[in-house]
Amino acid sequence: MKETKPLLSVRNLRTSFFQDEGTTKAVDGASFDVAPGKTLAIVGESGCGKSVTAQSILRIVDRPGRIVDGEIVLTRADGSQTDLVKLEANGAEMRSIRGGEIGLVFQEPMTSFSPVHTIGAQLMEAIRLHNDVSKQEARRRGIEALRSVGIPKPERRIDEYSFELSGGLRQRAMIAVALSCDPRLLIADEPTTALDVTTQAQILDLLRALQRERGMAIMLITHNLGVVAEMADDVVVMYLGRVVERGSVDAIFHDPKHPYTKALLQSIPSIQSVPKEKLPTISGSIPHPFNRPKGCPFHPRCVSAMPGRCDAADPSLREIGEGRQASCFLYS
């Protein structure tokens, strides 16, 4: 299984935000790999650190946040390895990776485009930043990129502004920008959350088709377990900045190990559930980042919490089977 080098390997990543009120450990020791050509989904609820993880990989964490520890190793096209944490966040090398080898799709297609520049101008800017081409060539490639994401009449759309496009088309344009430089890894942060279900289905289909064509890896960040089940090969479940469980998509959905994963899967209303039946719930709510519980961050809400153990020490992420990892004292 593990012969091929992972495209991206994140080890013990810690990103904290240093504020006057205290330090928020947004990501607190996350480790995972993204295999080339595969889709890794990072699932979790708000505040679990999934978006900050993506920002850390791209080195665009906003101040007062910074990466405190860990490494993010990217395997380059020539086989060499680069630790992104060691690079200057705004240095030439990081700038060429960001948007070049690693593309990014944001959640809000409305706010991620500039309203005062045309789609074409923004698309061509990305192309010319990473490739030494003329304006005409960039425009030609831009039209091609828009066509490849299924935007009708790309010759005309390229001169329109983002507000002239519908939500679905805007998200397609966003994907076109991210793909214009042929990334080997596409980070998609909640790419369909703001879209309607039928549009969501279109975008998910598009991402899958593009992945098949280009063989790129996708790191999909979402809270929607349905989207994960449809798209992912491997899944990382996060809770309060920590990876609580890792495994293949089938293992996570059909044989979850960590109590949080189990509870999360049971508590979602499914389209296949029986109407008017009570749902099992997770008691309590996600703690505020300043009041992180001691020990395992999930223990106050956990049904299997062992007093004296889970509230005292912090379980580390350990191997619990073939390609499976969980951080829970039940499996140590």
């Binding site: 609820e45 039928t198 289905a201 089940a229 109407p275 009570k278 719930t281």
Partner: protein, 347 residues
């Protein structure tokens, strides 16, 4: 001042909407001339029975929120009737004079989508939950406080918290505050517009369970507006699917999900990602986009995206017809098509 006499409601119905239309004018130029109309709600009819939950589902821009706002008279409908049974008397909400609206709204309350912007940050829980009582002149200060305590207990919040401000509470707790406020006046109809879509998954289930429990205990009638079909399936007895201002299908929940009769419902159900990787299905992916309500297609609004469309669909708008017991569909081909649904209880 007497409300216009209207036809009698069915005994079991609390609310009946007949031929509701809401058009918004598009104005242009210096003189603000009306150059067109957005037909947000275009001839919608349905009823809600006492004690049941009816869900309005559809994608953004389908008119589900506009419909719910007309029912509360937050918007005045362009035409149509909204009949509400009020202690044996039937009122047409669409026609009630403004002066009588306040007493009418005692009967109907609303739960909002965003628990962060729907609570005033400068008011304590006591003020927030007590405000509807104050507005309607219910009781004295002590009685109102007692009622607030009762309401907070009902929704699972500790009454000791009533002097705190909303910022001290999490999203799920805030949604409970919103529910307590909506129920303070003992309304009969509760309109809930996307009440769980802003919440985390683990908290969604808590709020859905609370809504179900309160309905049981207080005999509430819900009009539930949502886009998430999984949530809708979980909470409702009947579902009405809307597309570009019209109802395309309405049926009891089980029937609608297991055997949809309208091609749009079929596509909508198939587009929902199922939380099981073994069910990666051959989804029906609709081509194109939702039609613009300012410039609607001829005939059936869905025909440009429908894979079963025929010539007649372009020419004539289908009427809502009963194809089986309580199952209404507006599709020319409803009786001949066999469409794919979603099985319940499948694991």
């Amino acid at each position: 001042m007497t409300p216009t006499p209207v036809t009698q409601l069915e005994k079991s119905a609390l609310l009946e909407v007949k031929g509701l239309k809401k058009y918004f004018p598009i104005r242009r130029g210096f003189l603000q001339k009306t150059v067109g109309q957005v037909k947000a709600v275009d001839d919608v009819s349905f009823h809600v029975k006492r004690g049941e939950t009816l869900s309005l589902v559809g994608e953004s821009g389908c008119g589900k929120t506009t419909t719910s706002r007309c029912i509360l008279r937050a918007l005045t409908p362009t035409s149509g009737q909204i009949l509400l049974s009020d202690n044996g008397e039937v009122l047409d909400v669409a026609m009630v004079p403004k002066t009588r609206l306040r007493s009418l709204r005692r009967q109907m309350q609303m739960i909002f989508q965003d628990p962060f912007s729907s609570l005033n940050p400068r008011m304590t829980l006591l003020d927030i939950v007590g405000e509807p009582l104050l507005v309607h002149g219910v009781g004295n200060a002590q009685e109102r406080t007692d009622r607030v305590v009762e309401m907070l207990r009902l929704v699972g919040l500790r009454p000791e918290y009533m002097r705190r401000y909303p910022h001290a509470f999490s999203g799920g707790q805030r949604q409970r505050i919103g529910i307590a406020r909506a129920l303070a006046l003992n309304p009969r109809l509760v309109v809930a517009d996307e009440p769980v879509s802003a919440l985390d998954v683990s908290v969604q289930a808590q709020i859905l369970n609370l809504l179900l429990e309160l309905q049981d205990r207080l005999g509430l009638t819900y009009l539930f507006v949502a886009h998430d079909l999984s949530v809708v399936k979980h909470i409702s007895e009947r579902v009405a699917v809307m597309y570009v201002g019209r109802i395309v299908e309405t049926a009891p929940t089980e029937a609608l999900f297991a055997s949809p009769r309208h091609p749009y419902t079929e596509a909508l159900l198939s587009a929902v990602p199922k939380p099981d990787p073994r069910l990666r299905s051959d989804r029906i992916v609709l081509q194109g986009e939702v039609a613009d309500p300012a410039n609607t297609p001829s005939g059936c609004h869905f025909h440009p995206r429908c894979r079963y469309a025929q010539a007649i669909c372009r020419e004539k708008a289908p009427a809502l017809e009963e194809v089986s017991s309580n199952h209404f569909v507006s599709c020319h081909r409803a009786r001949e098509l066999t469409l794919r649904g979603v099985q319940s209880g499948a694991t």
